[in-house]
């Protein structure tokens, strides 16, 4: 099943619905290897009986075997609200792969896969409300979190329409998000975060103060992390259209140090602000993102 989480394989699936179902079903099937595990009523611990406890929770089978009275404790289910903020700026359309070859998808496609899978997982498996905000330097699409029938189709349609354009600006979409925020939930921001880490954290940190669990999914192409340049080349910025000539020696030394420093600053800044950070490369399977969501949802209970 793991191969169905591989972005190279998923790139061959055109429908986001089918893609999300493939990913989530494969992911969940991987989690349900033991019958004792489950999401509906989850066993947490045994506790010794004390007077006043409800006798309905006594484990009579255990009492019959051991003549000791213990209570079985379960973790009750609650509904959560998931809002996905998808960066659809021009920089997200970068890919190092060749169209004809089996290679990493573009960052926006990879972000769509993650967003679709998360929505599917939230609505179909967790009965959570899921919403979507597509932004660049402005909010381009807003779908309110909901569990209504057809919500999933609307989310997928919104993702389909999220074609990259313009530049990234976190301030405006996050302000917009706060205006519509009525109850706490989980906010997942999917972006390549080409901005100063301080600026990003400073913009995103207020979401956390409202009791939201905030997750940053940092999407990068492998070539962006470790670029390989055989000869000097003229590079064009997809957002600003600025051109510079770069030598291979630079990409092997200074560039790597800079981007590593950038990631580290982003990771430490996020942790400092109580925000989860996850770096996702477009050639990695999607389960890391799904697992991160489930982990946050569990912690939220």
């Amino acid at each position: 099943m793991q191969r169905f989480l591989d972005p190279d394989v998923l790139a061959g699936i055109s429908s986001l619905d089918l893609l999300a179902k493939t990913v989530v079903d494969g992911f969940v099937a991987g989690l349900h290897r033991s019958p004792q595990s489950g999401f509906s009523q989850e066993f947490t611990e045994y506790r010794a009986y004390t007077p006043g406890d409800d006798l309905r929770h006594v484990d009579w089978n255990l009492y019959a075997r051991t003549e000791r009275c213990y209570l079985k404790r379960y973790r009750g289910e609650t509904n959560s609200q998931l809002t996905i903020l998808l960066d659809a700026s021009n920089s997200m359309q970068y890919t190092s792969g060749q169209p004809a070859k089996q290679s990493p998808p573009s960052k926006i496609d990879y972000a769509r896969y993650i967003a679709a899978s998360l929505c599917y997982l939230a609505i179909r498996n967790q009965r959570d409300a899921a919403g979507l905000i597509v932004f660049d330097d402005d909010v381009r699409e807003y779908i309110r979190p909901s569990t209504r029938p057809g919500q999933l189709a609307r989310l997928f349609a919104g993702l389909e329409r999220a074609e990259p354009r313009a530049r990234t600006d976190f301030a405006k979409p996050l302000q917009h998000f706060q205006n519509f925020l009525h109850r706490r939930g989980i906010a997942i921001i999917i972006s390549d975060f080409y901005d100063a880490p301080d600026n990003i954290i400073r913009t995103i940190a207020p979401l956390r103060f409202h009791g939201n669990e905030v997750v940053l999914f940092h999407i990068l192409d492998p070539q962006e992390l470790r670029p390989v340049l055989h000869r000097s080349a003229i590079l064009v910025d997809l957002e600003t259209d600025r051109r510079i000539e770069v030598v291979p020696e630079y990409t092997r030394t200074s560039y790597r140090a800079k981007i590593d420093s950038h990631i580290e600053a982003l990771r430490s800044g996020a942790h400092g602000a109580g925000i989860d950070y996850q770096l996702l490369l477009t050639n990695q399977p999607l389960d890391a993102a799904l697992r991160e969501y489930l982990f946050l949802r569990q912690a939220d209970k």
């Binding site: 920089s91 997200m92 970068y94 190092s96 060749q98 960052k107 390549d192 080409y194 192409d221 070539q223 962006e224 670029p227 390989v228 340049l229 055989h230 000869r231 000097s232 080349a233 003229i234 590079l235 064009v236 910025d237 997809l238 957002e239 600003t240 600025r242 051109r243 510079i244 000539e245 770069v246 030598v247 020696e249 630079y250 200074s254 560039y255 800079k258 981007i259 950038h262």
Partner: protein
């Protein structure tokens, strides 16, 4: 190095294409998109340097490809001593004949030969041959330069007569054994007289290339020589006006009319001088008479005084043996005296020797000792007293010679004395088919010797033979035959002596030989042959052979022979002196000989007078012989160089390198292009 098709070099203009593409055309790079330039910094300066280096490599490959393709079409070649040249055999032939003694000819020829030897590749095999009276192979085909030079240095000028015909004959035999291509370098004065009469005799095999190195650069120099000397080998009476005289022929080659002084030298003393006018390029005869000499062997010479360009040939040597007249025993049948008359008359008419004929009937010969006579003649006497016949057998076995003439009486008897065989059926041509003529005549036989016999078979064609006894020719040499093949004159060696058998008579009944002039010459030469006076004195030519002992006697049964050469040295070892049968007279001068039969002789040896004609071959003949397309030594040297250094075309190697350059260029181009597509 050069180009076989240099006009293809015009294709070098195609070099402009890579020059334009790489150096003149503006470089354009395809921009590569990236998500953000946030972490990139420009590196323009180093980038240009890197790009320039890379493009220079590609430019060099492409320019090399064009250059190599053009060079391949221009077909470059190098000249070098190839493996083929090393496989060729260098045959160095140095002429050391008598004519090479003139001026600096031999030194120049040897110098040129050494230079040719020094110029050869060290691995090439060479062979040294000297061309004198004989073709002497001095070395085997070897590549050791030291040995080759030593062999060449050891060659000294000789007295022999060079013959290019003999050289070609030897080279043909050599070419059959070697089988490799041969470069024949001939260093010679290219004497015209060394060429055989028939040019086909000097045609070389196909694998032999002849390069002529003539040492004669200027016009032929004038030269006088003593062409021939006529003198009695044996002289009995110095006052005999008919015999006691010396006639010499002075000959000039490339000379003007001049007066020359000729001297007669006897035992190193000039006893007479004569002045003679020699016409231009002509001959003049000078006579010295009487010849006043002492008893014994006299070493004589006729010498041209004054000298010329070739002083070595100004004298002609000869020896004259003064002795009392030798006696000849003529044994005839009792009723037949005509043969004695004819024979005696003919012998008296001969000028070369002095003999006194003692004529006896066969029945009166019982008490005669043959050893007291120069030779014995048995004329139609097949029945001899047994004592005399035994004495004759002893005489012949010890070196005596007998002439037997078979008359009509031979057919009536069972055997021929001394000869051993039975006479066969007699042919009476007068009754059968008419007189028979003489067919074959061996003019090399001493008794019949003629240097240039005429069309009338040397005078023998008119001789009519009426009666001949058939003789078994076994173990004998047939010197003359009739037209029907019947042997007429035979020579059989017996012991140290010879028996000369005439199958017809010496009178005019069985043939008309005594009536012809050739009879006198025949009797004269036969007498000299039988008496041995022809061997004991007179003169010979260099490289002629002298028979020292009989070939029929076993080795060791007779005494040793002695030879003292002109330098006073003994050229024969003790073993050779005991076994040698013939000796080559290879030096000019006086040889002192003691034969196996105990007789002494002094023989004068002169160089072949053809060597005195220093006129070289015509250039046309030289070109025809060597096959050189143009005249002159320079062209011949160039041809020789062309043979040793062959043009090796390099187009195949250039094409191979061009292919490698094309592949490298394609690989580099492909790599650059793919890199530009895949980056980032």
């Amino acid at each position: 190095m050069g180009f076989l098709a240099p006009w293809f070099l015009a294709g070098l203009a195609a070099l402009a294409v890579p020059v334009f593409v790489h150096l003149l055309r503006r470089h354009t790079a395809t921009p590569q998109p990236v998500g953000s330039l946030m972490f990139f910094e420009p590196g323009t300066q180093s980038s240009r340097r890197h790009r320039r280096l890379k493009y220079l490599l590609l430019f060099a490959l492409r320019a090399a490809l064009v250059l190599l393709a053009v060079l391949a079409f221009a077909n470059p070649f190098i000249r070098r001593a190839t493996a083929d040249a090393n496989s060729r055999l260098l045959l160095v032939v140095l002429d050391n004949s008598f004519s090479m003694r003139a001026g600096m000819r031999f030194a120049d020829a040897k110098q040129q030969a050494l230079a040719t030897l020094a110029a050869k590749p060290h691995t090439q095999r060479a062979q040294i041959i000297s061309l004198g009276g004989q073709v002497e192979i001095r070395t085997q085909p070897i590549s050791d330069d030291t040995l080759l030079r030593a062999a060449l240095q050891s060659i000294q000028p000789g007295d022999g007569h060079a013959s290019f015909g003999e050289l070609v004959h030897a080279v043909r035999a050599l070419a059959e054994n070697v089988r490799a291509p041969i470069d024949l370098h001939l260093f010679s004065d290219m004497q015209r007289t060394a060429m055989p009469a028939n040019f086909a005799d000097v045609v070389l095999p196909g694998n032999v290339t002849l390069i002529l190195h003539s040492v004669v650069k200027a016009a032929p120099v004038p030269n006088w020589t003593i062409e021939s000397v006529q003198a009695p080998a044996v002289l009995a009476d110095p006052k005999d006006p008919k015999r006691s005289r010396v006639q010499a022929v002075v000959s000039g080659f490339a000379t003007l009319e001049t007066k020359k002084t000729v001297a007669l030298v006897v035992n190193d003393k000039v006893i007479a001088t004569r002045s003679v006018d020699v016409p231009a390029n002509g001959r003049a005869t000078v006579e010295f008479a009487p010849l006043d000499i002492s008893y014994g062997f006299n070493r004589c010479a006729v010498r041209i005084e004054g000298g010329d360009a070739f002083p070595a040939d100004d004298a002609a040597l000869f020896t004259v043996h003064r002795s009392d007249p030798e006696r000849v025993l003529f044994v005839h049948a009792a009723d037949e005296t005509r043969s004695s008359l004819y024979f005696t008359s003919a012998l008296d008419a001969a000028a070369q020797a002095a003999f006194t004929v003692q004529s006896v009937a066969a029945e009166q010969a019982t008490d005669l000792d043959p050893a007291k006579y120069a030779f014995v003649v048995l004329s139609d006497t097949v029945v001899l007293p047994s004592i005399f016949e035994h004495a004759l057998e002893q005489y012949v076995s010890k070196g005596g010679n007998v002439l037997i003439a078979l008359g009509t009486s031979a057919g009536h008897h069972a055997r021929i004395p001394l000869w051993g065989g039975n006479p066969g059926e007699a042919h009476d041509y007068s009754r059968e088919t008419g007189p028979a003529a003489v067919g074959q005549v061996d003019f090399t036989f001493p008794a019949l010797e003629q240097s240039q016999p005429g069309r009338d078979n040397g005078g023998w064609a008119d001789v009519k033979v009426y009666y001949v006894s058939t003789v078994d020719p076994a173990q004998s040499r047939v010197a003359m035959r009739l037209v029907d093949g019947t042997p007429l004159l035979l020579d059989k060696p017996i012991g140290e002596g010879h028996v000369l058998l005439l199958a017809s008579g010496l009178e005019n009944l069985t043939n008309d030989l005594p009536l012809h002039p050739v009879f006198v010459a025949f009797v004269d030469r036969a007498a000299r042959y039988l008496s041995g006076s022809g061997l004991l004195s007179g003169s010979s030519v260099v490289d002629s052979f002298l028979q020292l002992r009989s070939t029929t006697e076993p080795v060791g049964t007779v005494a040793n022979v002695q030879v003292i050469d002109p330098d006073g040295r003994r050229p024969l070892s003790l073993n050779e002196a005991r076994t040698i049968q013939s000796f080559r007279l290879e030096r000019a001068g006086f040889y002192q000989i003691r034969f196996a039969n105990g007789r002494d002789a002094v023989i004068a040896v002169n160089p072949d007078r053809r060597e005195s004609d220093l006129t070289p071959m015509d250039q046309d003949v030289q070109q025809l012989w060597s096959g050189a397309p143009a005249a002159g030594a320079a062209q011949q040297s160039a041809a020789a160089a062309q043979l040793q250094y062959r043009n090796h075309s390099l187009w195949w190697y250039v094409m191979l390198v061009a292919l490698v350059a094309a592949l490298a260029q394609a690989a580099f181009s492909s790599r650059y292009l793919s890199t530009s597509r895949e980056e980032l």
